[in-house]
C-alpha cells in the first residue's frame, strides 16, 4: 500500500513532498545529488516572458532563523525554459508545476498559455506574491479584485490546473483565498515570503541591494501554519503548504493544519538532500504516531475534513 500518495487537480503525487519554487532552480543541480524521481513533484523557478537578470547583489541576508532574499525573478524566460529546462525534467518520474510570473496581466497570460501547453507541465502555480520585483508580483497578490481577475484570465488560457500562490502580507488571507477560488483557481499554494529588511549597522544602509526582501525559513512557519489552518476551513480547493519546513514534523504540522501537500524551500539550501530525507523519514514517523495514510490527518487540527 502506498501510504503517501496524494491526488490533486492535475497532480498525481507519489508523496506529498516537493521543492518550492525558486529554491530548486530547474532541478539540474540537485539531479547530481539524488534521483529526482523520488520527489512527489517539483515546483520550478518562476518563468517570465523574457529573460530577467533580477536584482543587484547582495541578494541574501539573514536574521534569526530566517533568510531574506531579493533575487528578483531571475530566469531565462519562458522560451528557454520550454526549450532547455523542461526536456531535462521530462527524464524524471515526478510532477512538474510551473511557476508563472509577470509584470502585467498580459505577461502572466502569455507565459501561462505557453508553458501550460508543455506536456511536461502538470499544473501552473500563479505567482502573484513575489515581493522582490518593482512591477507585478505583490500588488496582484494583495488586492482580491486584481487577484481574481488575473486568476480568471490565466484560467481561460491554461491547459492545466492553476494553483494560485498567496502572499502572507495581507490583512485577510481568507479573503484572498476565497476570491481566487471563486475566480476558478484549482488549488492554492501558500505561503510566499513575508516582506522584511535588514540594515547593516556599519553602513546604516539596507543589506540587500533591493532594500527589502522576502523572509523565508523557520521564522515564518507559525505564520504559514496559521494561514493554512484558517484558509483550509474556508475553501474547498486543496492547499500545497510551505513556509519554514525543515523536517518531517513540520510537514505533519502543515497537513494537520489543512495542507494536502507540502513544499520545502529554504531548507534545500541548508541541506540539499532534505526533500529526499523527509520523504524517507515520513513512513517511520507516521508509524510512531499511528498514522496509516498521510491524508488521514489532513485538516485534523480543525476537526472537519475536506473534499478536494
Amino acid at each position: 500500500m502506498n501510504r503517501l500518495n496524494v491526488e490533486l487537480p492535475g497532480l498525481s503525487l507519489k508523496n506529498p513532498i516537493m521543492p518550492a519554487s525558486g529554491c530548486f532552480g530547474f532541478g539540474e543541480e540537485f539531479a547530481g545529488l539524488y534521483d529526482l524521481s523520488v520527489l512527489g513533484g517539483i515546483m520550478i523557478k518562476a518563468a517570465t516572458r523574457d529573460e530577467r537578470f533580477g536584482n543587484k547583489t547582495p541578494r541574501v541576508a539573514e536574521s534569526g532563523m530566517g533568510m531574506l532574499n531579493a533575487i528578483g525573478l531571475q530566469n531565462p524566460g519562458v522560451e528557454a525554459i520550454l526549450g532547455e529546462k523542461l526536456p531535462f525534467l521530462s527524464n524524471y518520474d515526478t510532477e512538474i508545476i510551473a511557476n508563472v510570473a509577470g509584470s502585467t496581466p498580459e505577461e502572466y497570460v502569455e507565459v501561462a498559455r505557453m508553458i501550460s501547453a508543455s506536456p511536461v507541465v502538470k499544473a501552473l502555480e500563479l505567482n502573484i506574491s513575489c515581493p522582490n520585483v518593482k512591477c507585478g508580483g505583490l500588488q496582484f497578490g494583495t488586492d482580491p479584485v486584481m487577484a481574481s481577475e488575473l486568476t480568471r484570465r490565466v484560467k481561460a488560457v491554461s491547459e492545466k490546473p492553476v494553483y494560485v500562490k498567496l502572499s502572507p502580507n495581507v490583512t485577510s488571507i481568507v479573503e484572498m483565498a476565497t476570491a481566487v477560488e471563486a475566480a476558478g483557481a484549482d488549488g492554492l499554494t501558500m505561503i510566499n515570503t513575508l516582506i522584511g529588511m535588514r540594515i547593516d549597522v556599519r553602513t546604516g544602509q539596507p543589506i540587500l541591494a533591493n532594500r527589502i526582501g522576502g523572509l523565508s525559513g523557520p521564522s515564518i512557519k507559525p505564520v504559514a501554519v496559521r494561514m493554512i489552518h484558517d484558509v483550509s476551513r474556508e475553501v474547498d480547493i486543496p492547499i500545497i503548504g510551505m513556509g519554514g519546513v525543515m523536517e518531517v514534523d513540520d510537514v505533519l504540522e502543515m497537513i494537520y493544519a489543512g495542507a494536502s501537500a507540502v513544499a520545502v524551500g529554504t531548507a534545500n539550501f541548508v541541506n540539499p538532500y532534505i526533500c529526499k530525507e523527509i520523504i524517507e523519514a515520513l513512513p517511520g514517523r507516521m508509524d510512531e504516531l499511528g498514522i496509516e495514510h498521510i491524508m488521514d490527518i489532513r485538516g485534523r487540527a480543525h476537526g472537519h475534513l475536506h473534499r478536494a
Partner: protein, 242 residues
C-alpha cells in the same frame, strides 16, 4: 557531498585570522580555490575557501566577522563540523604551462586559497612569486610558509611589516605570464586589467545554496551573468564585471 569534518586544531594565528584544521572523513583530492559551505548555528551555511588540503586533512583560515565565523572560532578539537563541498571551480593549477611564471596576489583573508594554489604549482615545478597585502604587522600570517615556496613580498597598509602601502603598489608584472588573485573587491578591480596574459581572480559574494540553484551569488559578466558558487569563485578576469 555533505561531509562531517573532525576538528583537529583551531587557533588564532594572527590578528583577524584563525586557522582551523580538520580531518576529512575520507581521502579525496581537492583543487585549490574551491570552497566548503560550512554549517554552524545560523540558518544558512558559510562559504570558506580551502587554505590547504592533504589526503585526509583540510585547513581553513577565516576572519571572525559575525555570528557564523564567531561560532567557527569556538569549535574545539574532537567536535565535528558539517561541510557541504568541496564546491566551485578553483585555480587552474594543473593546466598552467610549466614554463610560465605565476604571480599570486592576495589581500587579507583572501590570502589563504593562494597558499594552497602556490603549493600545488610549486609541486609541479612551476615558477611562482607572491605578493601579500595585510592591514598591519599583527595581521600578517603564513609569510614563512609562502617564502618557503618562492619569492614573497609582504605589504602592510601602515608599514608595520614589509613594504608600506597597498598590495597593488608592490606588484611587478614584468615577465609574469599568469596571475592568481584573491582579496577585497577594490584590490581585484585594480589587478583585473593588469598587463598579464592570463589572469584568474577569486571573488566573494553572499551565497544561499552554494550549488547554483538559488541565484543569490550572481555577478555581471560580458555574456550576461555568472554564478560565483558554480561558475566561480575563480574566474578568468575578463569573465566578470566587478
Amino acid at each position: 557531498m555533505i561531509q562531517q569534518l573532525t576538528i583537529l586544531s583551531n587557533r588564532k594565528i594572527a590578528k583577524g585570522a584563525t586557522e582551523l584544521v580538520c580531518r576529512l572523513p575520507e581521502r579525496q583530492e581537492i583543487a585549490p580555490g574551491r570552497f566548503m559551505h560550512l554549517k554552524v548555528g545560523p540558518l544558512l551555511r558559510r562559504p570558506i575557501s580551502i587554505a590547504d588540503a592533504g589526503d585526509d586533512e583540510i585547513t581553513f583560515l577565516f576572519k571572525e566577522v559575525g555570528k557564523g565565523t564567531g561560532e567557527l572560532s569556538g569549535l574545539q578539537p574532537g567536535m565535528t563540523l558539517d561541510a557541504l563541498g568541496p564546491l566551485g571551480n578553483g585555480f587552474p593549477v594543473d593546466s598552467v604551462d610549466e614554463a610560465d611564471h605565476v604571480l599570486l596576489v592576495g589581500g587579507g583573508i583572501g590570502v589563504p586559497p593562494l597558499y594552497y594554489a602556490m603549493r600545488k604549482l610549486v609541486e609541479r615545478g612551476v615558477r611562482c612569486s607572491a605578493v601579500l597585502g595585510f592591514d598591519t604587522g599583527e595581521s600578517v600570517f603564513y609569510e614563512d610558509a609562502f617564502r618557503a615556496l618562492g619569492p614573497t613580498t609582504v605589504t602592510t597598509v601602515d608599514g608595520t611589516a614589509g613594504t608600506k602601502g597597498f598590495v597593488t603598489a608592490a606588484i611587478e608584472t614584468e615577465g609574469v605570464d599568469v596571475l592568481f588573485a584573491c582579496g577585497p573587491e577594490a584590490m581585484l578591480r585594480s589587478v583585473q586589467h593588469l598587463d598579464i596574459k592570463e589572469r584568474y581572480i577569486s571573488i566573494e559574494n553572499r551565497m544561499g545554496c552554494g550549488i547554483g540553484a538559488c541565484f543569490a551569488c550572481v555577478c555581471a559578466s560580458p555574456s550576461g551573468y555568472v554564478k560565483t558558487c558554480t561558475d566561480g569563485p575563480v574566474f578568468r578576469a575578463e569573465e566578470v564585471i566587478l
